[in-house]
Each structure stands twice: as C-alpha cells, then as structure tokens.
C-alpha cells in the first residue's frame, strides 16, 4: 500500500475527461471530475475524499455512490478498488427525527 501511504508519489497529471461533469454522488451533487481532481490534490483514501467533497455524506450515506466513488479513486491512483478501505458506516441506518431518536424507555420528551 506504499503508493497510497507515501503522499509524495503523485498519480500523474490531471487529464480532463469528457464525462467529468457526470454526477456521481446524487445526494451531495459531486461530479466525477471533482472526485478525480481531489485525488490529484492529495486525497488518496475514501475517508479523505468524503471529508473533502462530501461524497456519501448526504441522506443515503453513500449507499448509492460508494462503489462508484471507489472505482473512480482506484482508477485515478492506478490500484485495484479492493485495496481501498470503504468509509466507516455510521448510525443510524436511516435518517431519524430527533424527537424519535430522543425517545427511550422511561424518558419523557
């Protein structure tokens, strides 16, 4: 994993592609070009891409775009998608209203 860990090893120059304006993360409206460019700016892990661009941070929490983002990042880094660790899944599984989450047995809200 040296190619991900040593951030001085750059993935070459950014070459624009015709479908760079295609939306990949629909919840947060992040395009393929933005994801590719982020890799060239040093974001080599899915976690970093997510924090930098908000991919997978919207309502679906990446359930739609996670695999697509992974494929784009891996290709840009010249590695297999299997080498990239997915972002941590976070509770709750589905968005939950504050008033619902706040309810616990014996608690009045």
């Amino acid at each position: 994993m040296q190619h991900i860990n040593d951030r001085a090893i750059a993935p070459g120059t950014f070459i624009p592609e015709p479908d760079d304006d295609r939306i990949i993360c629909r919840c947060e409206e992040v395009t393929k070009g933005e994801i590719r460019r982020a890799v060239h700016e040093g974001m080599y892990t899915i976690t970093e891409i997510r924090r930098y661009l908000r991919t997978g941070m919207g309502l679906c929490q990446g359930q739609t775009c996670a695999r697509l983002v992974k494929g784009i990042v891996a290709k840009e880094l010249g590695i297999s998608p299997a080498e990239l660790i997915p972002a941590t899944s976070r509770a709750p599984m589905r968005p939950v209203e504050m008033k619902v989450l706040a309810k616990e047995e014996g608690r009045h809200v």
Binding site: G42, T45, V96, K99, L101, A102, R107, V109
Partner: protein
Amino acid sequence: MCNTAEVIIVGSGVIGCAAAYYLAKQGVSVLVLERDQSIGNGGSSRNGGGVRQSGRDPRELPLAMYAVEHMWPKLSEELEIDVEYHKQGNLRLGKTERHMEILQGLTERAAACGLDVHMIDGAEVRKINPYLSDEVIGASWCATDGHANPLLTTLGYYRKARALGVRFCTEEEVVAIQKIRGKARRIITAKAVYEGETIIVAAGYESRAIASTVGIDIPMRKELIEALVTEAEPKMFAQMLGTADADFYGHQTDHGSFVFGGASGMESVNKDNGNMAVSSITAPCICRGIMKYIPKLADAKIVRTWAGYEDLCIDGVPVISSVEEVPGLILACAFTGHGFGISPVVGKLLSQMALGEETFLDIREFRYDRFQAAI
C-alpha cells in the same frame, strides 16, 4: 526515497498539518508521519468546529484572541479553500440561576483578559436567536466568536503543505524516538527509521506513549465523546451555541446541516473499545438536550453520529513546549478538546519553535514541566 528532513512531525492532525505548512512556507524540509491511513483522522476531523475565545482558560485566551483577530479571517484565502469560517458570535446559554452563576464567572474571567464578552438576558438572547426556547433565561455573548469547518481546515492545511513539498507518510506508527549524542534525532516506526534535526510530536493522546520513549511523561487521559449531524435544513442561525450545563454545543454549517456535540455523562467510565464506536445512549441524550433549547429542531432528521477522543490534560490547557532534557524535541498535545480553534496560531508558534526563533506570543504557561504533585 530519502528518510531525512529538517523537521519531522508526528501526527497529521490540524496542528501537525498547520505546523508543516508554516514551516514549508519558509523553505524548511518537513516530513509528517501519520499512524492512520487517512490524514487528520483523530479529533481534527471529529470536533464540532468551534472557533471560540469565550469559555476558555485565561492562560489559553491570548492564543485564541490572536487566532480570531489575525489568522482565521484570512485563512480561506491563504489555504485557497473555503474553510467556512463565520465570525458571528457565540451564545453560551443558561436555564437556571446556577447556570447564570457559572456563566457570570466565565465572563468575568475572560473580560479581565480583555475579551469583549458580556451577560445578556433571555429577551436579548432571543433577539439574537429567535429559535431558542423560553427556558433560556440568559447567556454570555461574545460577538467575535464563531465556527469553521474542521474537515476542510485540516485537509486544506494538508493540501497546501503537500503542494509546497512536505512529504506525508500514512500508516507509519511511531514506536520510539531515539537520541543521538544527547539530542532527539531518530524516529523508529514499525516499518522504517527516519532522522530529523527537530521532532514535533502532535499526536493527540498517543503523544504520551511516544514522549515516554525519551523519558518524558505528560499527565493526560483520553475520553471518547460524540457528535451528530442532521440533514440540511433551511438557514436558521449563524452563531455558535454552547450551554452552561454543557448538555450540547453546535452550529448550523454552510451546507445547512446542524452539527452538535455532547455527552451522556458516562464518558469517564466508558468501556473503551479502541475503535471509536458510538454508544447507543449518547446521541438520544444529546437530542433531548438540544430539543429543550431549540424546540423547532425536534423534526430535524439525524443522518449520522460519530465519536472521537479528546486528549484531556490534568490542568485543562495544552502542552506546547520544547523539552530541556531532550533537545530537538517539541511537544504539542493535551489540547483538552480546545485545539481546533487555536490550531492556526499553534501551527505558527510551532514553526517558530522548530526554527529556534523567539515566539511571537508567550507560551510559558504551556510548559511540559509545569505539573506538580499535590503536596
């Protein structure tokens, strides 16, 4: 590739990345070693984004005031990334007479240090933020406090430092620092050996174990606290909020979502699972706290929760210090949950310390050897 640099920084959090940036800007060669695979994966990416002066220990206040006056307003321009900094005030809310006493004490101590912070009543609070409930009877108000995006600030410093030639190596866990001819110089990781003229340790709680390899101990502990984020909501208010009771703190982000942090009260005895997993009791507790202050948010949906460690110093302020017994070693740790807001100024101070320059602010209060036994 070469394993030497003038300055080696252990830890790629916002403090380490900021120090790397300010050093690289002056042409210094810098190497940053990070234990995790991702940059800034500790408190730097898990905090609530507060850029506060009010509520701080008087020893720490000059750093926060300098950062707010001279650094935060220009940071987006400097890093060429929108760090979403907003200087639109901090309300620390009170619901009981006891809360108001706590706020009064904090306010008086900060005002004595020259900070423009004062007490306001419930009506004035609701003039500033009409969404706050009638349970709020008053607050402390500091108009120059604010908030920023900690993820983009950390990665912004990283991106800029990397572009200036700083070498970042992740998944490099530091095992030991070794002295050569009486001076800290060599860093041993699980995979390699590195050498630098100066070593800055900015690795959160893990700094304790690393510093102990050269005989230095910092009296701190770690505590796992939690935060949550809602879906995007229409714009409601721009201030940073906190409470005298510390039930929650937070703000609305540029994205529209609300980020709130808080605690269940069980933190000091949490079962430490080592992987920063959230507890099932904390987020509901934070929600109950928030709804009492901001009833309108009861319908807001929680999208995500997460946890992160605070490195809590025994006396509540960080260690930012050179070490006399170990020349060449600089410590920057034990930020006690207040590190993000002062990260630009600490990064700049560390760059001066590493270059052997006189620091532009007095940092004697943050010495590593200030701790003494009770009797």
